[in-house]
Each structure stands twice: as structure tokens, then as C-alpha cells.
């Protein structure tokens, strides 16, 4: 059967707004913030034009956006919101409550630097600060992936083995505002793929009323949190199952990561989201010169597929992990420290170094990526890294 798709030119935000339109959730509660705003605007016009029948709540803050989304989801609605940066920081308290309630909320997060200094451009400091909130995190390289990930996220979140909220992350302005060619699925295909949401317990079940959000003391608290961790573990399998199903309707394959010339690569860059696109360009260039270089672009980092990442990098001699956010631990970015820790049990370990890059929207061009590969080559020759953590392209 030939796959039905429609090629369109859209910004990342427009593509995501269209994914949400095709899902047609029961409730959206949202608050505008750059660079997420377009999603809310597009969706408001879908509602105004009667293209969807979503109940939209234009709340007075992101804290209330997440609170209302939680209230709607607990009431049995398929509920969504979207945010960026300060907005995600403001809803931080409620992120824990969404996951603690085991609510399958899907939230696109358009990555933007967190203040201060105030800055509206891309880095990953917003979502990196939310890694311990019990949300799944899926990163997208471009508008197509953001669109595809939003649709898959709905299924992953609502899977009875998971029942956890999901953030779908993509780069502010670079992906959210740039127009790209992408393929949209037919409305009916998405509708069938996401299906109906019929939760077991809701606030509107008056025959067997449920108390959502009781006080839980030390006698039960640990069990509830352990179950949440179990669900995150179960999500690993579900992510691949849904990806396989999605491939059947779209022809596009997804996993925990994308490898680019990874099989025989000796020098590898690991980087999330749009920068991977730039890195692919450099990998092509260097491969043409006979250099054994490759790229690993993690797609899912919550749950953290440590085993699979280690396996993917097992042939590498030197790895540069590029983090688009500081942790201020002085030991490197979040992705670097987690990936490095994942190698603790591995029989052979590549040399590993970390670059903190692209903060506050600083462009990372092919020139910087080339420089990173040059560093890796010197490290490989030397047999050691000359610097564990480097701020890339920073004036000294």
C-alpha cells in the first residue's frame, strides 16, 4: 500500500500546531511565550475557524497552564499545553505533579535559554532543568521530527504501561521559526493512530469517586515513586513499539537515537536536535576526505537508554558530547555526565570530552563542528583528551 502523505512548507511551530490539530485534544490550556507563541496563535485560529472542537483555556500564567492541563487530564480529557524557557521554569512545580498523578499529558517545548541574562534564543537549559521531573523527553532535529514526535508522544504517554507525561523538544527559532519542507499525514490516519482516550479513573466518575492528590506519608510515598520509575523503565519498550507502528503509516523510522556513519566511526560527535543537522554536513565532508567520523543524535533521553547508547558508541575511539546547556557542576553538561557514567561498566571505553555550545542562540556552524572533529583527531593521536570540558566558540 502506498503511503499517503502531503508535502508542505511550514515552520516547526506550524507543523506542531498541525500535529495537535490532527490529534484534536479535548482541552488545551496555554500561555504565550517566545518562541512557542505561534503554536498558541495557530491553535486559537483553528478553534476560531471551527477546524477543531478543543476547549481552549487561555490562562494567566504557565503555572496555571500546567495546573489546568492537569485538572483537565484528571477529569478524563486528552489535555495538552506547550511552552518554552521561563514558562517551563514557572511550571516546574506542576511538572512533578503531572507525572506523580500519572497523567498522559503531551507538551511541546520549544527550547530557549533560561534567564539571566534574559535571552529569547535557543539553548537547552530549560528542558535540562526538567530532567528529574518524571517526564519523558524526546528531542527533534527539525520540523518533520517535531511533528512526528508529537503524534507518537500521545500514544507513548497514554500507553497503560507508561501513563507518564511527555515533552517533545525542538530548537527555538532554528526549528520553530524556520520554514522547512515536510510531510503531513492525512487527518484520518493520525486520528486512527492516536485513537480514543478512555482512562480508567476520572473526576467525572460519580459512581466510584476518586480522590486525586491525597496526602501520602512515609508509609506509602516510596512505593508510589518506585512505580513511577517502573513506568519510566517500561516506556523504553513502548517507545520502540510505537515507532514501529508509526513507520508503517509514515515510512519514517525512529529509535532511541539516530546514527550517522556510526558503524565504523572512530571519532564521534554526540549532539541533540538541530545541531545534528549541521554535524551531518561536516561528517559528509570529512568522510569524503576518508576520515572515519560519525554522529550520534540521541532522540530520547528520558528514559535514558544507557545500554543502547553505549552499544552505539562501542566502536568509537574518541567521543565529543556537545551539551547546549551548562550544569555548573564544573564536570560538564548533563548529556556528557550521563553518557560518561553509562560507560562505567563497559569493557572498553572511548576517550570522552565535552563541549558546552550554542548558549543563548549562539550559532554553531560547520566551522565549529569541524574544529571539534580536529580536536578529536589530536586526542586520538595523543591517546588522551587535552581538556575535559570546553566552552565552544567563547571569547576569552
Amino acid at each position: 500500500m502506498a503511503l499517503e502523505t502531503k508535502q508542505v512548507a511550514m515552520t516547526g511551530n506550524e507543523a506542531v500546531a498541525n500535529a495537535i490539530k490532527q490529534i484534536n485534544p479535548d482541552v488545551i490550556a496555554a500561555y504565550p511565550i517566545t518562541p512557542q507563541t505561534d503554536i498558541v496563535q495557530y491553535y486559537s485560529s483553528f478553534v476560531a475557524d471551527g477546524q477543531v472542537d478543543t476547549q481552549m483555556v487561555t490562562v494567566e500564567s504557565e503555572h496555571s497552564a500546567m495546573s489546568a492541563t492537569i485538572g483537565a487530564s484528571a477529569a478524563g480529557a486528552r489535555a495538552m499545553t506547550a511552552t518554552s524557557s521561563q514558562g517551563l521554569a514557572l511550571m516546574h512545580e506542576m511538572l512533578h505533579i503531572a507525572s506523580g498523578f500519572r497523567l498522559p499529558i503531551v507538551m511541546p517545548v520549544v527550547n530557549r535559554a533560561v534567564s539571566a541574562p534574559i535571552n529569547i534564543h535557543c539553548d537547552h537549559s530549560d528542558t535540562m532543568a526538567a530532567l528529574t521531573t518524571g517526564w519523558l523527553q524526546i528531542y527533534s532535529e527539525n520540523a518533520q521530527e517535531a511533528y512526528d514526535n508529537v503524534i507518537q508522544a500521545m500514544r507513548i504517554a497514554e500507553d497503560p504501561r507508561v501513563r507518564l507525561p511527555v515533552m517533545v523538544c525542538y530548537d527555538g527559532f532554528i526549528t520553530s521559526h524556520a520554514v522547512e519542507n515536510l510531510f503531513l499525514l492525512p487527518d484520518e490516519t493520525v486520528k486512527q493512530f492516536v485513537g480514543e482516550y478512555n482512562p480508567k479513573h476520572t473526576l467525572f466518575d460519580f459512581d466510584s469517586p476518586v480522590t486525586f492528590g491525597p496526602l501520602v506519608l512515609p508509609d506509602y510515598f516510596s512505593e508510589i515513586k518506585a512505580q513511577e520509575a517502573d513506568a519510566m523503565r517500561a516506556a523504553k519498550e513502548v517507545i520502540l513499539e510505537i515507532a514501529e507502528e508509526f513507520a508503517k503509516i509514515s515510512g519514517r523510522k525512529y529509535g532511541y537515537y539516530e546514527g550517522y556513519h556510526l558503524e565504523d566511526a572512530e571519532r564521534v560527535i554526540v549532539v541533540l536536535s538541530s545541531t545534528a543537522g549541521t554535524a551531518k554536513e561536516v561528517v559528509d565532508e570529512l568522510r569524503a576526505q576518508g576520515e572515519k567520523v560519525g554522529l550520534m543524535k540521541p532522540r530520547v533521553i528520558r528514559p535514558f537508554p544507557a545500554e543502547e547508547f553505549v552499544k552505539a558508541l562501542s566502536g568509537a575511539k574518541v567521543v565529543a558530547v556537545m551539551d547546549r546547556a551548562e550544569t555548573f557542576s564544573t564536570q560538564g553538561g548533563q548529556l556528557f555526565t550521563e553518557l560518561r557514567a553509562a560507560f562505567y561498566e563497559a569493557p572498553t571505553k572511548p576517550l570522552m570530552r565535552n563541549y558546552i555550545f550554542g548558549l543563548g542562540g549562539r550559532d554553531t556552524t560547520t566551522a565549529e563542528i569541524r574544529r571539534v572533529f580536529e580536536d578529536l583527531k589530536k586526542d586520538q593521536e595523543r591517546g588522551s583528551v587535552d581538556r575535559k570540558v570546553t566552552h565552544l566558540d567563547v571569547r576569552v
Binding site: Q55, G71, A75
Partner: protein
């Protein structure tokens, strides 16, 4: 007008066995308000005494669907519940007509929840927000809030060698809610149960957002005998410290005018939190409190006159 006998026969939403203190005003308010809801009821609760004392897992005192998410967002959470109701009803997944009521203490309503309350009222969600106002953060141990009356001794406005307790007057939240031009706003007191019940009925029947500010003594924080709760409520009303009134579509109506307005000292002296005000040297504070009560009462009477003329 229902009789107490009829009211007591109505279904009980808050089951006995909860762990609120003897003499606490909150459960009285909850049991009276929820009786006025006709049909299915969803309760949203802000973090506070009521929430912690009624839902100690794996037990719950609530015979009806109930949700608590955090402290500052009960109104926002309920906004989402209301939105879900409209969406699911439109899509044929819910067929009943339902009521939504929110309970928050003064900390969760006047202070930390002020923004989300204002947002929910402005958006005019069909829900009834009830503040049980005990005038301090009682759950954490009697800290002052913006609802704490002037002169009250709390653990963060303590009486000391150079302090007579809280220096500021209360925030007038009912007025602020009325200024949102919502269909219904009212002040109630458990001492006047029939007035309270009727206002709750009107709030549930309102075509949009409704706000009720309910006087709710806290024997622990106010330092009075648990048996005196209702008596202290009555004194608050009879001194005009806590006027009973409603604002319906912008029109004020004072629902109870004491035949003889008692001096505010009668309300104050019944509570340990004000006992220091009766020591020599604090006469001016008592005078200032009386003056403010008089000013607000006169203002209210004028608002009633103006809005109905």
C-alpha cells in the same frame, strides 16, 4: 428556605472521621456549602488544613470526586476540570450536569493563589470558589497572611516589646472579587446558616464564576475554646467586622444588618490572639481597628445604596 432538619437529611460529601480539629470552621463551611449543590459535585482543594486532614492516604473523607494539585492553583486546576467538562459533554462522553466547587484557605486564596483565582474569575469559568478564611497560615502554624486582622498575634507577626502584632489591615478580597464583575460574590458566616445556604445555592446557580468568602474560626490560631466557634462567628457579624452581603451582577445587598452594632472589642476580647490589645498602651490600636470597621461598614452601606439606585 430550608429547615435545619431538611438540610441535615441531605447527602453528606465530607464523611466523619476526618482529622480536622474540634471547633474548626472549615468542615462546617464545607458541609453547608456542598449541601447546596444540586446534582453531581467535583471538589478541588488548595493545599492546606482541609486537604491534609481529609485525605491521609489510603483513606479519604470525600464521598465525591476530589482533586488537589498544589497550593497556589486550585482555581486554575478547577478551570481545567471545567474545560474538560465542556469538551467531554460536547463529545458525548459525559451526560450529567455537574457542579464544581473549590475550597482554599486564606493563604491559598488571598496570597499565593491570588493570581490563579483572579485568572479563573476573569475567564468566568462556571465554578464556585469558596475561601474558608481563618485569617492566617494555620496549617504551618499560625503565620500571618494578608487576611490576618490588624493587631493579631501570629508567629510571624508576634507581639513583642515593640510590637502589638500585625500592623496592617486585612486585604478586602470579597471586594476585589466583586470588582472582577463576576455573576456572584458573597460573604458568609457559619453562625448564619440559612444565609450561608441560600448564598451557596445562588452561587451554584450562577451563570459563570462565583466567589464566596466564608468566615472560618480556628480555635488553635485564634486562641478560643472549641465550643465557642459559632459564638465568635456571630460576634464577627454583629460587630460588622465580617458583614454578610452579596454582589449579584454588580448590585450589592447587605443580607444582614445588626439591629444594634456591637463594639468590635466584643469580638476581639473573645480571642487570645488579641488579648495583648487590652493591655495598657494599646488603646490607640483598638481605636484604629474600630475606626476601620466603621469605615468599611459605612462604605458597604453606601455601595448597596449606590448600586441599587
Amino acid at each position: 428556605m430550608a429547615s435545619l432538619k431538611e438540610l441535615s437529611a441531605l447527602p453528606e460529601v465530607l464523611a466523619p472521621g476526618h482529622r480536622l480539629c474540634a471547633g474548626c470552621g472549615a468542615p462546617i463551611v464545607v458541609r453547608m456549602i456542598t449541601r447546596a449543590a444540586k446534582g453531581p459535585l467535583v471538589v478541588a482543594n488548595a493545599t492546606g488544613c482541609l486537604e491534609v486532614s481529609t485525605t491521609i492516604y489510603p483513606y479519604t473523607s470525600w464521598n465525591t470526586p476530589w482533586i488537589h494539585t498544589a497550593f497556589e492553583n486550585a482555581a486554575a486546576t478547577a478551570s481545567g476540570v471545567e474545560a474538560a467538562y465542556h469538551a467531554l459533554k460536547r463529545r458525548g462522553k459525559v451526560d450529567k450536569d455537574i457542579n464544581i466547587v473549590v475550597f482554599g484557605g486564606d493563604g491559598g486564596t488571598y496570597d499565593i493563589g491570588f493570581q490563579s483565582l483572579s485568572g479563573a474569575m476573569e475567564r468566568n469559568h462556571k465554578l464556585v470558589y469558596v475561601c474558608y478564611d481563618n485569617g492566617a497560615y494555620m496549617n504551618t502554624g499560625i503565620q500571618r497572611s494578608s487576611a490576618t486582622p490588624k493587631g493579631a498575634n501570629t508567629t510571624t507577626s508576634p507581639v513583642g516589646k515593640v510590637s502589638y502584632g500585625k500592623r496592617e489591615n486585612r486585604k478586602d478580597l470579597t471586594e476585589i472579587m466583586a470588582a472582577h464583575n463576576i455573576p456572584y460574590a458573597a460573604q458568609v458566616s457559619p453562625s448564619h446558616w440559612n444565609d450561608l445556604y441560600q448564598k451557596a445555592e445562588k452561587a451554584f446557580a450562577a451563570n459563570g464564576a462565583a466567589f464566596i468568602n466564608a468566615f472560618a474560626p480556628c480555635p488553635r490560631g485564634w486562641r478560643h475554646d472549641t465550643k465557642d466557634t459559632i459564638e465568635i462567628c456571630r460576634l464577627a457579624v454583629d460587630t460588622c467586622f465580617w458583614p454578610l452581603y452579596e454582589v449579584v451582577d454588580g448590585k450589592y445587598r447587605v443580607t444582614y444588618k445588626p439591629r444594634e452594632k456591637k463594639p468590635v472589642t466584643e469580638f476581639l476580647k473573645a480571642q487570645g490572639r488579641f488579648s495583648h490589645l487590652f493591655q495598657p498602651g494599646n488603646e490607640e490600636v483598638l481605636e484604629a481597628i474600630q475606626k476601620e470597621v466603621d469605615r468599611k461598614w459605612e462604605e458597604l452601606l453606601k455601595l448597596e445604596e449606590l448600586s441599587n439606585s
